[in-house]
Amino acid sequence: MEVLQIYLPIAGININILTLISIGIAIGMLSGMFGLGGGIFLVPILIAIGVPPQAAVAASTNQMTAASFSGFLAYSRRGRVDYKLGALMLFGGVLGAFAGMQTFEYLYDSGIIDIFVALSLFILLLVVGTTTARDSIRSLYFKYKNIEKPKFEHSSWMHKLNLPYQQNFISCRNTLSIFSPIIVGFTGGYMVSLMGIGGSLVMLPAMIYIMRISNAFIPGTTHFQIIFTTIVSTILHSVSSHNLDIILSTILIAGTSFGVQIGAKIGSKFQPENYRLLLAFLMFTLCIAVAYDLFIRPSSIYMVEYMR
């Protein structure tokens, strides 16, 4: 097993190559099954195995480019990408990526980046995990009782706001202001740069419940937008903080590429409500791990970092 150890030049640690490939495959499987970028799981896992947080965030953004591009190609072949909507989301996403990077550097200099990321992850995992678990249990209940699930008409505050420049989109029955996708894209791009997560955990519910985008177009359009925001974020991380470890991200990408396919196969064989409950369980598990770091006294109350 010793021959499989590899030194990561930017992260500055020696790690087993099989561990990294396994992580990549596992994250890819989650991406393929649930349509997520995987960053929300990847960043804490990398930190747990000893990768410095800044290097983990940078590698995660690069890894998401591969996963999103792979997903985008699959959906674009089926004509399930709304390019007009995606371009507007992308515009917001790029702005968000720049804003997220500024915030990242400010919080990094203030020494609260890790706390901020952990607290944001905790809240996000708790809210999205609860929503996912509730929806999944509800679906399973109706399926078990063999009764038709009632359709809820979600109110959209973005429609009620009546924002200007209303446009028609192929993915949306109603007209939509161009500002709606820009705002949602901005949130996603901001999260990519700041937390190393693709933002799909926020963008997917926003597209379903707030923008009322057709389910068929959501994953493809999200992937389309994430490709570019992760590219911008990768460049920003590399140029400003020199934290991108190309060896680490390439090994992860190799694992992810296989994992996405395995995950997509598993996903197509099971009913969505079954594996969404698994997703909720994973989110709660991660939420508890994050909470432990936040609320329980750490083994050392000092943190040392060297300045590049």
Partner: protein
């Protein structure tokens, strides 16, 4: 390495003839003058061979390049552990290791040890911020513990062992995986009755090799080019996965 050993052997044969028995002398040779960091790197031992007068007490130290550090202290606020007070050390040793023929505090007094930067329990650095000595001391201790945990700072000196020949000494010091690139200085001191009588210095480099040297260069000097390569790799991997997926479907 063979040439170095040969030189050392020649010196070993000639020196005792030219230097009287009372004179203190020490000559050092390092097993390598370049530690290469490549994909297999997980730390490396450096062997130091010494020829000395046979009577002196020897202390040697390896000092790595200086780095700036920032230390944070976590404090519980609103039930959450947040980073509170911090201090910056503009320059401190990124690596330090020490070896001696016996307990360094028995070889000479603390004042002399500190003069030659050999007292590993004391480091003469200053913080950017001004804190009370008690607070500074707690930060200082944690900074030392941090480097000790990464094996970048000694918890106690290594032993310099005598070989079968009385004039030849040998020790091994470890450069861990967190060792940074740069020039590392070896200082060897010969003491007798607490007085430093002879000193010699040498150096070796730690540097990344091959692909790793290229990665380090690009990641710092050509950041845009470096990030574009990473993006191309990601897109190529994504496209390959997409292609295989399509093939699988049809």
């Amino acid at each position: 390495m063979k040439i170095n050993t040969l030189k050392l052997l020649l010196l070993f044969l000639i020196l005792p003839l030219t230097i009287s028995a009372r004179t203190s002398y020490v000559i050092a040779d390092i097993s390598t003058h370049e530690v290469a960091i490549d994909y297999r790197f997980k730390g490396q031992y450096v062997t130091i061979s010494l020829i000395y007068d046979g009577e002196s007490d020897i202390i040697l130290a390896i000092t790595g390049p200086e780095l700036g550090y920032k230390i944070w202290k976590k404090e519980k606020r609103y039930g959450i552990w947040l980073n509170g007070q911090s201090y910056i050390i503009p320059k401190a040793k990124s690596y330090f290791s020490i070896a001696a023929t016996k307990n360094i505090y028995e070889i000479t007094d603390i004042k002399t040890l500190r003069k030659y930067n050999l007292d590993f329990n004391y480091e003469d650095y200053k913080a950017k911020e001004e804190y009370s000595p008690i607070i500074f001391e707690s930060f200082r201790q944690e900074f030392t513990k941090y480097r000790q945990k990464l094996k970048l700072y000694p918890t106690q000196p290594e032993l310099i062992e005598k070989t079968s020949n009385n004039n030849l000494l040998r020790t091994k010091l470890f450069l861990p995986e967190h060792t940074i690139s740069g020039t590392y200085k070896l200082d060897v001191y010969a003491f007798r009755n607490g007085k430093m009588l002879s000193q010699t210095s040498s150096h070796f480099t730690v540097k990344k090799h091959g692909l790793y040297a290229r990665v380090e260069f690009l990641s710092v000097q050509k950041t845009l080019q470096y990030s574009l390569i990473s993006i191309i790799i990601a897109l190529a991997a994504g496209a390959t996965a997409g292609f295989i997926f399509r093939k699988d479907k049809s």
